[in-house]
Amino acid sequence: MTEDSKLINDVANSEYKWGFRFISAKKNEPEWLLEWRLRAFRHWQTMTEPKWPNVHYPVIDFQDIIYYSAPKKQIVLNSLDELDPEIKATFDKLGISLEEQKRLAGVAVDAVIDSVSVKTTFRESLAELGIIFSSFSEAVQEHPELIKKYLGSVVPHTDNFYAALNSAVFSDGSFCYIPKGVRCPMELSTYFRINSAGTGQFERTLIVADEGSFVSYLEGCTAPMRDENQLHAAVVEIYAHTDAQVKYSTVQNWYPGDKNGKGGIYNFVTKRGICAGNNAKISWTQVETGSSITWKYPSVILKGDNSVGEFYSVAVTNNYQQADTGTKMIHLGKNTKSTIISKGISGGHSNNSYRGLVRISPQSNKRTKFLSVRFILARR
């Protein structure tokens, strides 16, 4: 559990149930961010939970604090022998090194093999190019002007039920800024980010690619992730300026629940990018195999002329998993182009839907698009 979620936990358990002022103060957030959170919260209170996704789950009591806090301490294992044999077997099948397994499983590692130094080197070489890659809360302290400018610029706090909730209570996340004309020389992976490997319940990711820049960003990990929190509602925003390209890849393998579907994670994510300038390109690639319920529609707003949006997706569901995923491509600029390749694979009693929207506005004149949705079912 991160410091931040602990904070939220504490606050939530205190009598001031939604203690935003307190969280914000503890995190030393600027006044405008607190205001932003409060605006989002007030708006969220007016909203109702969406019922349109083709997924089914018990009613979530959002006042019940357990949904947005980590109630248990992370268990620290003394060695891999203490790890659940089922998880250990999966690690082995994936070919994950022993050191990496220890890190993922939360085994205490000694200072020598800890990868902190690797991360520091990594960060220094990025800094030389002017690339900012840090946790969200660090960025709030160090680059408040950037956060203020871009936070909510792609996914406003009013966007949808879960995005509004996230905007109100987000604990931490990642921030990435690529300056003008810089091609990020390595894949940026959340794995290398300085803060903990644990994934927050209400994560916020903001990626800004300035004019003519390029970045390939990796989220997630193929190793099975377990988390005490059942509901996850992250928000990812990508802002691409003129001639910028952002490639965002996700491999998500959260705990899907047992064979009867019990105990899995609900993953309700809002991911959106905007090609704000001309010739910008945003590409989403996702491989989704985990979670008991996935609800996710990475989208691109093609505002700049000649901008390009891409969506490549594989969603696998098995046993009692449910997935309702797809994309939205909003064509506003002239000559904009989008490609959608979505593959769903379902086995067992699972439920796998594709939901997509392609909107072409009257003012944009010429564009080509290709939409391909296909499903394949594993034999039973």
């Binding site: 193929t222 690639t285 594989v314 594709y354 997509g356």
Partner: protein, 82 residues
């Protein structure tokens, strides 16, 4: 088991080109049998077929991620065949 597609198209422009293809298919008994006849077990056959099916998406992933994603897919489908 449900699988549905809800592709919404809002085209407010006559010059737009939209190609749309939506198909639902089963990992074919024919494909599995073909693999079996070449000595490949059903489980391996499903892995092979499904990975082939997803190749154009995996090709978009960075190399390392793609390899891991393939293995992950095989693990996720364990027990779904037979």
């Amino acid at each position: 088991m449900w699988r549905d597609t809800f592709p919404y198209l809002e085209v407010n422009n006559r010059t737009a080109t939209v190609e749309h293809e939506a198909t639902t298919s089963k990992v074919g008994e024919d494909q599995i049998f073909y693999c079996n006849q070449r000595g490949i077990s059903t489980e391996d056959a499903v892995g092979l077929i499904v990975n082939g099916y997803c190749k154009e998406v995996f090709n978009q992933l960075p190399m390392e991620f793609a390899v891991e994603a393939q293995k992950l897919l095989a693990i996720s489908l364990e027990g779904s065949v037979g």
